[in-house]
């Protein structure tokens, strides 16, 4: 990789496997067509723990990152392996500041199989990528899409999540292109995925 920094920085907080970060980065780079870096994150999540709910507050994480982060990246996607919530909801797969800079994805629930047990690793990575892409797209101002074949379709269950694809529909894609143009972002033409590994 060149010395220039990517547009999106992926940041683990707490214990997150490197392979998850790499697969996520590769998928984001492929779908968003913008350069992605994997950055060093924070070790402890203690600050965001809510003992009443026995979960971690996603909004506090985003607020904290927004205040602290000095990286040149235009967008930051945090990755955690703990269970996240927002005050009004019992749990979330991820959270994002719409039209903001910060997003977070939790891998905590994404390996579960409906009816018990775990899904295959492959399916798990796919889900992490979908939630990551979806939340990151919110920071670019994209809202939920009515299209069935679109990653911006709102999904509130793992069943929904598995049903929707990993890519944007034409409409959301063109919305995203507009945002890139406004931001004067350099997109990747053809950058090999292997660059990241």
């Amino acid at each position: 990789m060149s010395g220039e920094s990517g547009v999106v920085g992926i940041v683990p907080i707490g214990e997150v496997k490197q392979v998850v970060l790499k697969i996520l980065a590769a998928n984001i780079q492929a779908v968003f067509n913008i350069p992605v870096d994997i950055l060093n994150g924070r070790k402890s999540l203690k600050k965001f723990f809510n003992p009443n709910r026995n979960q971690y507050n996603a909004i506090t994480i985003l607020d904290h990152m927004e205040r602290r982060w000095k990286q040149p990246h235009k967008r930051i996607l945090a990755v955690v392996s703990v269970d996240l919530f927002i005050p009004i909801l019992t749990y979330v797969f991820g959270e994002a500041q719409i039209n903001g800079k910060m997003a977070v994805v939790s891998t905590y629930r994404l390996n579960r199989r409906t009816g018990g047990g775990n899904v295959s690793l492959e399916r798990f990575y796919e889900r992490v990528a979908k939630v990551g892409i979806h939340e990151l797209a919110h920071t670019f101002g994209l809202v939920h899409c009515k299209e069935n074949h679109c990653v911006m379709r709102a999904s509130y269950s793992l069943r929904d999540l598995d049903y929707y694809p990993l890519y944007f529909c034409d409409y959301c894609q063109s919305m995203l292109d507009d945002v890139y143009r406004r931001m004067k972002l350099r997109t990747l033409k053809a950058r090999s995925f292997e660059d990241l590994f």
Partner: protein, 460 residues
């Protein structure tokens, strides 16, 4: 219906407001927040919302109190109560009081998503029904004439009956009852509908001008007649000639017109050529023509010629059930024209409108609504916006001097006739000089602004 769904989140806890707002915004909804009941009501005054998330436990004004007001004043907004664990009973009570649903904090993501979807679906159906209702309401409209009263329904029927024929119709009714609209409707429903509708206000011209206006003139017919000009009679060929304020036509000209009606031909002023015309005649007056005949001001033969069929429009005060539909019609029209979001007249304000005697009839009501829309800064027209009507509406039981009553009556009549002195004088059956004297005596002034708020100095 605006394309974007608008949602208002009302909660005293910032964290709830912000996280619910954030979640809803991702759905592409337009979301605002309010930190208290009173704040939310203020926001509802200013703009319509499709959906309201309303916290039950709030200081100052709790969710149930807010709900009650919302249901009364903004019934088109759906309400979801937000409750904390352990206050389900209150939520159930809220449902009984008209809340559409409730949610217990924290919500399951899927529950919230499904609930929002369900309610917005419901809202769409409500909006469609409203639209439908409006369309039904439109059927009380007949060629731009609006009325649900039995009297007006009879008039609509009559218009249908008399349109097919070519008989003259004399339309009577007080000023502002919409006589010209009725005439237009008769024309529009008649076989002559593709021909011209030519109205002339006979009271608006001095005698010599009325003559050339009606009959036209040849070049050089009089000083200043540089070229020939068609009169209204000639212009109405193939269509309908509408003589408004026909009682104002001088006696001599009544003879001329009678001749035209009998022979279907005339000649221009200063001309000799007979011009044949084919038109239907409609006439209107706010005078009692029979009385005028007795006084020798109107020719009996001309009267019978015009009054083959008579159609009387009752004054608005005799059909108060028409006031709400008319008021709402004008409200919609003027809020559209002024680009304001006004969509209701409060029941209290409607009561004021229904009780007011409307000496200037529909036109006065129209002017009043226009004025109210212009001065209103809210989404609804309330009693305040009609304070200019209350001057002449003091309690009937209140002791008043005759002078006071006269002053108020003159003022109301002036307003009803847009301060047209001749018309007002005629309506009051006094001459213009007398009217001017009275205006001076009572210090009556035409000032749009003074009339928008009750003028304390006027109180005796």
């Amino acid at each position: 219906m605006s394309a974007k769904i608008r949602i208002l989140v009302v909660d005293d806890e910032l964290i709830v407001r912000e996280s619910l707002k954030g979640w809803l915004k991702k759905g592409g909804y337009e979301v605002d927040t309010a930190a208290s009941g009173p704040e939310s009501l203020e926001m509802l005054e200013l703009a319509p919302y499709d959906l309201l998330f309303l916290d039950i436990m709030m200081p100052k004004m709790n969710g149930l109190e807010v709900l009650e007001i919302v249901k009364k004043r903004f019934p088109e907004t759906l309400v979801v109560m937000i409750t904390a664990y352990g206050s389900v009973e209150t939520a159930v009570k809220a449902m009984k009081n008209g809340a559409n649903d409730y949610l217990m904090k924290p919500f399951e993501p899927e529950t919230l998503a499904l609930l929002v979807e369900k309610l917005l679906q419901q809202k769409r159906i409500i909006d469609e029904n409203l639209l439908l209702k409006e369309q039904v309401a439109r059927s009380v409209r007949f060629e731009n004439i609006i009325g649900v009263s039995e009297e007006m329904q009879k008039i609509f029927e009559m218009i249908m009956d008399i349109s097919a024929t070519d008989v003259p119709v004399l339309i009577t009714g007080e000023t502002g009852t919409g006589k010209e609209l009725i005439a237009k409707a008769i024309h529009a429903k008649s076989p002559r509908k593709h021909g011209p509708f030519i109205p002339i206000n006979c009271g608006a011209f001095p005698e010599h001008l009325l003559e050339t206006e009606l009959f036209g003139h040849e070049k050089g017919a009089f000083t200043g007649a540089h070229r020939a000009k068609k009169g209204r009679i000639e212009m109405s060929h193939g269509g309908t000639l509408f003589l408004d304020e026909v009682g104002e036509i001088p006696l001599k000209m009544q003879v001329d017109l009678l001749r035209v009606l009998e022979t279907k031909s005339f000649h221009r002023v200063g001309g000799t050529e007979e011009i044949n015309v084919d038109f239907r005649i409609l006439a209107a007056t706010n005078r009692n023509l029979l009385e005028e005949i007795n006084k020798g001001n109107f020719r009996q033969d001309f009267y019978y010629r015009l009054n083959v069929i008579s159609l009387h429009i009752p004054p608005l005060r005799e059909r108060p059930e028409d006031i709400p539909v008319l008021a709402e019609h004008f409200m919609r029209r003027y809020s559209r024209e002024t680009n304001k979001d006004i969509d209701t007249i409060t029941p209290e304000a409607m009561e004021v409108l229904k009780r007011y005697p409307w000496p200037g009839n529909v036109r006065e009501l129209q002017n009043a609504i226009e004025r109210a829309v212009v001065i209103s800064k809210k989404r609804c027209l309330d009693v305040d916006e009609f304070s200019f009507l209350q001057v002449s509406q003091k309690g009937a039981g209140e002791a008043k001097s005759l002078e006071e009553i006269e002053k108020e009556h003159i003022e109301a009549m002036l307003r009803a006739h847009d301060w047209n002195i001749s018309k007002t004088a005629r309506a009051l059956k006094i001459n213009r000089v007398t009217l001017h004297k009275k205006i001076k005596k009572y210090g009556l002034k035409r000032s749009g602004q003074d009339q928008c708020k009750p003028d304390n100095s006027r109180k005796s």
